[in-house]
Amino acid sequence: MDSPSMSAAIRALLRRDLLLAYRHRGEIANPLVFFMIVITMLPLGISPESAVLGSLAPGMIWVVALLATLLSLDSLFRSDFDDGSLEQILISPHPLYFIVLVKVFVHWLVTGLPLALLSPLLGVMLFLPEAGFTPLFLSLLMGTGVLSLIGAIGAALTVALRKGGLLLSLIIMPLYVPVLIFGASVVRSAIEGFPIAGELAVLGALLAVSIVLAPMAAAGALRISVNG
């Protein structure tokens, strides 16, 4: 018997996950809306002055992007686990690395990418200086990819546990520190007129490393979760 084609399997998974995302399109808007709401709460809780907000904007937008990603991570493998699809995926003969990568990619496509696309609007709302807009977009584009990838490890580790949401935050947050620091400082450097190529390169390097390593760790974690 021919062994089943891997590319076909990956395409089937990609199609299914995109279809699911489309069916749940109401929920796709949620990270965005969450993002927007927190951004509107901040002036309420802190100060509505444009000078204050403008100086906080880079860090604030990044912290909130991080939270929004975190919130959506829990469901990355959860529904597959709950209905038994994950068992089926694990005993399929295809390398788990690529399967995780596909799932993370879809996750980024429906959370990280829209966040990045939405960032100019938020910049306007928080009085971000003009020089910061493109760097904000670029840093979010790459940074959210890293967030999704690292987050997948946490999601895989906690998928078998009920109420994993907050445990997931605890596990993942410390690992997000470098992304946050570099992401926010790209924007701040740009505003202050410094060159940002170096910092963007660091983000790129983080992305490259996590594309290689994170799905591997997540794959191992998935096997353990389902085994237990």
Binding site: A160, L170, I171, M173, P174, G220, N227, G228
Partner: protein
């Protein structure tokens, strides 16, 4: 044959019986080191020119800080051994290392804060080293929480080992980035001065304390691991004999 010792090391029973004999010695050495160090540090080392006596807290703060970091690597390496060679004992060591490391990290944070109050006039500052210590503390908490969350012990061990390993990859990155972040901000007003400038009369008791803390760490790890062994192997014949003998 060459792997014999490694195999035996993998046996909790062997470990339990060996440590039975090590512990009295190690405990004596630890007590000697810590008592000598403490008496020397508190009683005989000279007061600092600028900080007076408050600096003496470094004799706890600095060793605790060292071991907090070293403890993470102990935990991660034990986790890796448990994952790769499926050694039960390594899993137990990893599980035991987490709370000890977290406690030491916590101790470093608290003693640092207590020291900060007279030195900087604030309990807390967002200094690079301090911040990364805090992040390390969270990494520990994550491992502990994950251990506790799984009900099945073998799964808990493997899952937290993966997390510990991912953490090891990240720790250098975190430290580098926090450091870089701090220099970017340059608050410049406050800095932890480097340890090398310390006067020898202050340094020797510090060295004693550091070695003492290492011994103490080993001792604590043994105790924790032994408790873990008894707990996990409670259904085996040899533990039952042990408990029976104790009764």
């Amino acid at each position: 044959m060459a792997w014999q010792w490694f195999y035996r090391l993998g046996s909790p029973r062997w470990f339990y019986e060996k440590t039975n004999r090590w512990i009295p010695w190690l405990a004596t050495v630890t007590a000697l080191l810590l008592i000598t160090g403490a008496v020397w540090a508190l009683g005989f080392a000279p007061a600092d020119a600028k900080q007076g006596n408050s600096y003496r807290i470094i004799y706890i703060h600095v060793p605790a800080s060292f071991l907090a970091l070293a403890g993470y690597y102990v935990m991660a390496i034990a986790g890796a051994i448990g994952l790769i060679w499926k050694m039960k004992l390594a899993d137990m060591v990893m599980k035991s290392a987490a709370p000890i490391g977290a406690a030491l990290t916590f101790m470093a944070l608290v003693t640092g804060a207590v020291w900060g109050k007279p030195t900087w006039g604030a309990w807390w500052v967002w200094d690079a080293r301090i911040t990364s210590m805090l992040v390390l503390f969270f990494l520990y908490l994550g491992v502990i929480a994950l251990q506790g969350a799984y009900q099945h012990q073998a799964t808990a061990d493997k899952a937290s080992a993966i997390l510990a390993l991912v953490g090891t990859v990240n720790i250098p990155i975190i430290y580098k980035s926090v450091d870089w972040w701090y220099t970017l901000h340059q608050p410049a007003t406050l800095k932890l001065t480097s340890a090398s400038s310390i006067h020898p009369s202050m340094l020797y008791p510090l060295l004693l304390m550091i070695v003492g803390f290492y011994c103490f760490y080993a001792l604590a790890l043994m105790f924790y691991t032994r408790a873990e062994i008894v707990q996990r192997e409670r259904r085996t014949a040899w533990v039952n004999e042990l408990v029976g003998a104790a009764k």
